[in-house]
């Protein structure tokens, strides 16, 4: 079999890939920010020590973590239109899905990060007369975020890879871009190879950057 990579040129990238890459990146960024926001709420619920807050949060997190992401994507694509009462595009559905799904994973990272802060810090805050929310906002969370930054970023790289699974509902992400281009030009083999190289270059450089950051943080601490 002869490979012909001449189809992978700027026209193809501009015509098929950039649109998908943009969506993949946007999905990753929104899901990360939203996931961190809701994940922090879930983590605080789980650490609140109150059963009526802890139990539903634990149910949600463990439930999300025991179902394959593809099934979660299919579920949301099925249920969200029912709940909001009108049809919804695959792209919007993916955004809602990934925020909800990543919140569960980020909350576990948050919980570990918060628990890594020595109890003495919390007691010191209390001794200074801080309220629970002040203590969390000013003492615990800033340190916890710093401790878990490398893990959070690694999870974001995994999230970027996972965005390719929106294939299940036909949303147009980077992989779909290569998929469509390969089929249009009758060169699927080259297109899939190019997709693998593109993902590898992006994810490898990101994980290299995270590794460097990890080293930097570790020295300061």
């Amino acid at each position: 079999m002869n490979l012909d990579f001449s189809i992978v040129n700027w026209n193809l990238i501009q015509g098929f890939i950039l649109k998908g890459l943009w969506f993949s990146v946007m999905l990753t960024v929104i899901a990360t920010l939203g996931g961190i926001f809701f994940g922090t709420i879930l983590a605080l619920m789980r650490l609140s020590g109150k059963r009526w807050l802890d139990a539903p949060a634990a149910f949600y997190v463990n439930g999300m973590r025991s179902i394959p992401l593809v099934m979660v994507i299919l579920w949301f694509f099925l249920l969200v239109p029912f709940i909001i009462g009108r049809p919804i595009g695959a792209e919007y559905s993916s955004i809602i899905t990934f925020v909800a799904f990543e919140a569960a994973y980020f909350s576990e990272i948050m919980r570990a990060g918060i628990q890594s802060i020595p109890r003495g810090q919390v007691f010191a805050g209390q001794a200074l007369g801080m309220s629970y929310s002040q203590n969390m906002k000013l003492v615990v969370l800033p340190q916890a975020f710093r401790n878990m930054l490398p893990v959070l970023l690694t999870q974001t790289i995994i999230l970027f890879q996972d965005t390719s699974l929106v294939y299940a509902i036909g949303a147009y992400d980077m992989l779909k871009g290569f998929d469509v281009a390969g089929k249009n030009f009758g060169r699927p083999v080259e297109a899939y190879l190019a997709a693998a190289v593109a993902y590898f270059v992006i994810c490898y450089s990101l994980s290299w950057a995270v590794k460097r950051l990890h080293k930097k943080i570790a020295i300061i601490r």
Binding site: M1, L3, S66, I67, P68, L69, V70, M71, L74, W75, L78, F82, Q115, S116, N147, Q161, D162, S164, L165, Y167, A168, L175, P188, V189, Y192, L193, A195, A196, Y199, F200, C203, Y204, S207
Partner: protein
Amino acid sequence: MLNMDWAVFCRDTLTGDVVAGCLGEGRDITYLNWIFSAWGWTVSVSLTALLLALVAGSLIGVIRTLPDSPWLVRFGDAWVELFRNVPLLVQIFLWYHVVPALIPPMKNLSPFVLVVCALGFFTSARIAEQLRAGIQALPRGQRYAGMALGFTTPQYYRYVILPMAYRIIVPPLTSESMNIFKNSSVAFAVSIPELTQYALQVGEETSRPIEIYLAVTLLYVISALVINRIMAFVEKRAQVPGFVAAGTGAGGH
């Protein structure tokens, strides 16, 4: 939406008639028969891939810790980076569409084998990383003690290092085994008739997606729970009295 119709599982897949007793015979199968066969595919893909991942992952994990073999270590590192930085779905497409096109003898392999390769090698990179961490978590003295006793390299790995390293990594291996069941769902993209493919196809065919998805989701959760219990049993049986795995001690970072 809330009036569910569970009788959908008793319907014949060809005629759509409800079959008495819910299970068809011979060629007349019901959707209940079909979901069990789909579950079987999920389980067999996952377990075969897990086996491949354990073998390949152990091999790569070990060569990444070998002393005095920089090229083997580099090969192991490259393996891990390669399989970790490409999304699983892309890897499945590579095995399914690209590998048979580039390597003619692979053309005759069944989709099952190709998907098992994809899932197995993808997971092998993660297991290799865990095993490397497990081996490096052991005190260096263990390796030296083995050398001092005159063990060859394979011997001290076999009798000194690996027995402890594997015990250390049982918890991450547990989550990896559960992950492999979840990840097997990605095989839907290349038409392996496993649970997710079933959900997509039958959900559409019967116009009863909620019941179908609920059943499929339940089967995934049950699979994960069973694996979790089996690994907990393994962890308990393999425990060395008095030895606390490095990861579980004083909560580090």
